[in-house]
Amino acid sequence: MPEIRVTPLGAGQDVGRSCILVSIAGKNVMLDCGMHMGYNDDRRFPDFSYITRNGRLTDFLDCVIIRWRRAALAPGERLGLGRAGAPASPTPGAGGWLPHLPGCCRRPWQLTVTQERTRGLVPPGNKATDTWPWGAALPRSLGRSRPPCSIHSGTWLCRWPCDLGTLSTYTLPAPTGMTACSEQALLPPALRLCLRRAPAPAVRRRSLSPVPARRELTHFHLDHCGALPYFSEMVGYDGPIYMTHPTQAICPILLEDYRKIAVDKKGEANFFTSQMIKDCMKKVVAVHLHQTVQVDDELEIKAYYAGHVLGAAMFQIKVGSESVVYTVSGEPVGGGEVGGEAPSSSSSLQGDYNMTPDRHLGAAWIDRCRPNLLITESTYATTIRDSKRCRERDFLKKVHETVERGGKVLIPVFALGRAQELCILLETFWERMNLKAPIYFSTGLTEKANHYYKLFITWTNQKIRKTFVQRNMFEFKHIKAFDRAFADNPGPMTQQPTGRTDSGPPPQVVFATPGMLHAGQSLQIFRKWAGNERNMVKAPLPPRVIMPGYCVQGTVGHKILSGQRKLEMEGRQVLEVKMQVEYMSFSAHADAKGIMQLVGQAEPENVLLVHGEAKKMEFLRQKIEQEFRVSCYMPANGETVVLPTSPSIPVGISLGLLKREMAQGLLPDAKKPRLLHGTLVMKDGSFRLVSSEQALKELGLAEHQLRFTCRVHLRDPRKEQDTAARVCSHLRSVLKDHCVQHLPDGSVTVESILVQAATHSEDPGTKVLLVSWTYQDEELGSYLTALLKKGLPQAPS
């Protein structure tokens, strides 16, 4: 019986240390290779001896797939921040899967504009062909497609079908010397944009400021990949390891950080080395989204974009007609709080906008792939989420309240994603409420915000687009670039509401990076405001800091969120926090509804839940079984779930057989099953259904005839001929459609069936009927025998 076997080595009725073995149609796949953060001994890694005790793992595994839990890097924050430990925030437009990573773009890309130029576009030099380099920011697959492109005041906006399977929008910095066009102009198709690799790495990549390492920050990413070097280098595995590009880029950094702590700080021996991490990463094969990878002749895997609700990719593993989909719902991980969310998830701009407005998470994020098994995480299955509108309302309320009473608001954010979303929210709110208090955007954010804002145009609804055309304005009206001096005193020269002149610091709202208050401008401002008594005395309200996302342990952000009011800064300085601290989580992880929708959309035959405690999954399990009428499993670690499958086997039918079938006159009816007789020939790994004559001929066999015989005893004192006559007339009366003959030799035939009567050798009162039929008439023969066994009707005397 073919079957799929699933054994969690980690994450079975358990949280952390994700590692699941899947055996499908003879192929063995390991999903994730994570570690458990809670342990420092052997238990932190999955027990690979389950796979084999002494052999190389390569012999037992066909491939390893590492799934990433909602984490991605933004262009400005790529490895610099990653190394610093702050998981960077993702990029707009791509749901966190922009391959803005060194791994996939070692050489810069160039945009070449050929043919004519259009109104509003004046490339430098006015040549027919100009090239703009813009650094390492484009995915590999771009070279193949020609994106439709539009230009907004000096910024290029390109949309093309990329890895995400949907149109994605990228902002490309305009090359210097290009005149900004005053209007949004869509380029006619005549303008062709070609993306090519630059001939030489001529473009200097944006330098990344080194930030002191803060290692503990990265830890919680490791529960999907932490055990990888241990698994591949120390236990021994040489097969392929598949991950998506962002994962491939982040993974070694995380592992190295982790190694440093374990070895350098804690002094652990027998730990994997840097070289092992490098060797391990060499075995990694990076996968594009929606790219099907043929692992071998039969096994193929495909990464899907899991939508901004699930926040990450999911993998489909397929062998023949059998398949398994593995997905993990997103989690508010680090800077990834903005995670895989599309930029459009702000319902403040809701409308027909994006595929998934807040109320309708139902937009499909997986096709109806009908896998045999769907493996999904149940971490958030018990949540019923507050609506996004209420979250936004709360945010506006807090900001408005403070500003109205003359207070200041600091909002630490990451450079891209949530920041712009909140800005747009505030901007429109300010406009509507006619507020005057300035909103500042810390340097670096402004530029990106502009891009981001423009990105919205292609995504947002008609109404908003029109507004921008009409106002001819892409810049925020109320949001200004932040100057460091503003934070000091006494405030910028702006109009202030209600005659509050020099009596105190003016109300203002400041967005500053980074989002966890661990460095940079946000921390600077925080330090100035947090301890500044003057603020306290003169302003009616202490300043407020609103943390719109998750903060990792160890950061100032985390400390104030856990209620600390006295912070030890460097130099033994103690900072007393007098600000009001607000924590607002905007993360959009999947809740119970999301998981149910995922199951409903994928239509799996079975569901398997991981990453959850058994006693918290039981209700979900029952719910899935009731609602979708599928089996739902939640195995413990080391426990194997066996799913029998019925893979379909293709069989070719010979033309001759079909023709003969057709000759019988009846046209095939799609709705009715029809019986077809033939001979199955299994030869050279192929299956064919042919007529028996053809099969005999092909195989050089002679035809045999198969007959069944059976004796039926009848009480009948009369002569044999009389008995035969009675049998004949009885059969004639019953089998009206068949040709019943009484042969001269006394035997009776019905089609190929022969009935002969003889007197019993010992009891003359009993007649023995010998019934014989061929294999082809089996049905009639059985019927006839059963009929005769009931006896003959009383003869009319």
Binding site: Q350, I384, T428, F429, R432, K463, Q626
Partner: protein, 431 residues
């Protein structure tokens, strides 16, 4: 010469000339941040209809307006989507609340939810980002759940519904997240189309009071399933609400408006008001009632599907102390969903729902005798506006309940399976 257009008609059109878009996008030059005062609010809330019409005329989204107003009106406001609409919001202590579906047979979920941590936080509320309900127990009921009661200090629930003359007892586990059917309590009386109302007598030997009609009223011990009290009356009037008052007494309200207090230690001899006299204008609507209220004054409130609200002194049920007409569309489209509840920690406040998509909170302290119209202290319109319904297709509020501790916090559910938690800004807090 034609009269000049009212100002309200001009302004939005000017706004249209600059399409603002977005939920917050419409500029409102006429109004700055309005002061949040009780007086200002009530005058605004009943603003001339011309303005509302004008707004509708330029297809402005009233939901957006409401959302902006809500900044001022509510301290906290959370909205959730349940798997199914509920008629039940039953607190289990103050740490959990039960909801239960009443939809098609076979697919009704009974959920034990823990409210967001934010709600129960005493201080530093801002530090609790958790705004989500968590499902801590869940179960499936074959039949729609019309009433559900938690037995205090136990892990037992009792539900009532149709079809079938029985009550279902449920148990939710300590070591599992499943609510399991434990036993049933047979209901002997025949009651076509009526389902037994429920009330729980807590204590060492908890008992359930149930009955669809006066004649079928009985108290059954939950453990032994023995009947400890029967009304013994032949009166077959249909009940609408039951409420246990202390260990030996309960109150009932019949659909006709008949109110009564019963001492279970004695023979059936309720102190009651047989029928609201015709002079008081009882027009044959359906009634419900609740005993409660704090401090001095009337403690029994009864509400009719024609919008009439009465307050009674429990010692003299026959003569209502005040009778007012609520500002609601009447009659209620579904009188079974009428709810009147006393605020547990606000003096003389009660909440009313079941007429439309709103919940109204009234302050009864100033009510006089008879006949007057009552102005609500606050009206929650979130169920109409938050999910972007037009005014026509708004859902019907199915039930509401007060938070046991937080004075101005209510939970409300509507027929679109929405569940709102809101904390309106009271006059004291708005200074």
């Amino acid at each position: 010469a034609s009269p000049p257009l009212p100002r309200a008609l001009i302004l939005p059109r000017a706004a249209l000339a600059r399409p603002g878009g977005g939920a917050w996008g419409e500029p409102r030059p006429a109004r700055g941040p309005a002061p949040a005062g009780g007086r200002a609010r009530s005058s605004r809330e009943h603003a001339p209809d011309a303005r509302a019409q004008a707004r509708a005329a330029v297809a402005m989204d009233p939901a957006e307006d409401w959302l902006v107003d809500s900044l001022r009106l509510y301290r906290d406001f959370h909205a959730f989507g349940l798997p199914g609409a509920t008629r039940v919001l039953e607190w289990a202590g103050d740490t959990g609340v039960f909801v239960a579906g009443y939809g098609s047979p076979g697919k009704n979920e009974i959920l034990h939810l823990t409210p967001p941590l934010r709600l129960s936080a005493k201080e530093n509320q801002g530090l609790f980002p958790e705004r989500d309900f968590k499902v801590c127990h869940g179960g499936f009921s074959d039949r729609p759940v019309f009433d559900l009661k938690h037995v205090p200090d136990t892990r037992l629930l009792v539900t009532s519904g149709l079809p079938g003359p029985y009550l279902q007892v449920w148990q939710f586990g300590e070591d599992s997240d499943v609510v399991r059917a434990a036993s049933t309590i047979a209901v002997p009386e025949e009651a076509e189309g009526l389902w037994p109302r429920l009330a729980i007598f807590p204590g060492a030997a908890p008992a359930v009071l149930h009955g669809a009609r006066l004649s079928g009223l009985r108290i059954v011990d939950l453990q032994s399933q023995k009947t400890t009290f029967t009304s013994g009356t032949g009166d077959s009037e249909a009940l609408s609400s039951l409420q246990a008052l202390d260990a030996d007494s309960f109150a009932f309200c019949c659909a006709s408006g008949r109110l009564g207090l019963v001492d279970t230690r004695r023979q059936w001899a309720p102190s009651e008001c047989r029928r609201p006299s015709a002079a008081q204008g009882a027009g044959g609507g359906q009634w419900c009632a609740e005993v409660g209220g704090q401090g001095s004054g009337p403690h029994v409130a009864s509400l009719c599907s024609d919008g009439q609200l009465r307050l009674h002194d429990p010692r003299d049920l026959c003569h209502p102390m005040s009778t007012v007409q609520c500002l609601v569309p009447v009659p209620s489209p579904k009188p079974e969903l009428l709810r009147v509840t006393w605020a547990p920690s606000l003096d003389s406040c009660l909440a009313v729902s079941g007429f439309d998509g709103t919940i109204q909170v009234y302050d009864v302290s100033s009510w006089g005798g008879a006949g007057s119209q009552a102005e609500p202290l606050f009206t929650h319109k979130g169920h109409i506006f938050l999910d972007g319904y037009g005014l026509g297709a708004a859902p019907l509020v199915t039930t509401h309940t007060w938070h046991p501790q937080r004075p101005r916090t209510l939970l409300s559910a509507a027929s679109d399976a929405s569940l709102h938690v809101w904390d309106w800004v009271g006059p004291a807090a708005s200074c």
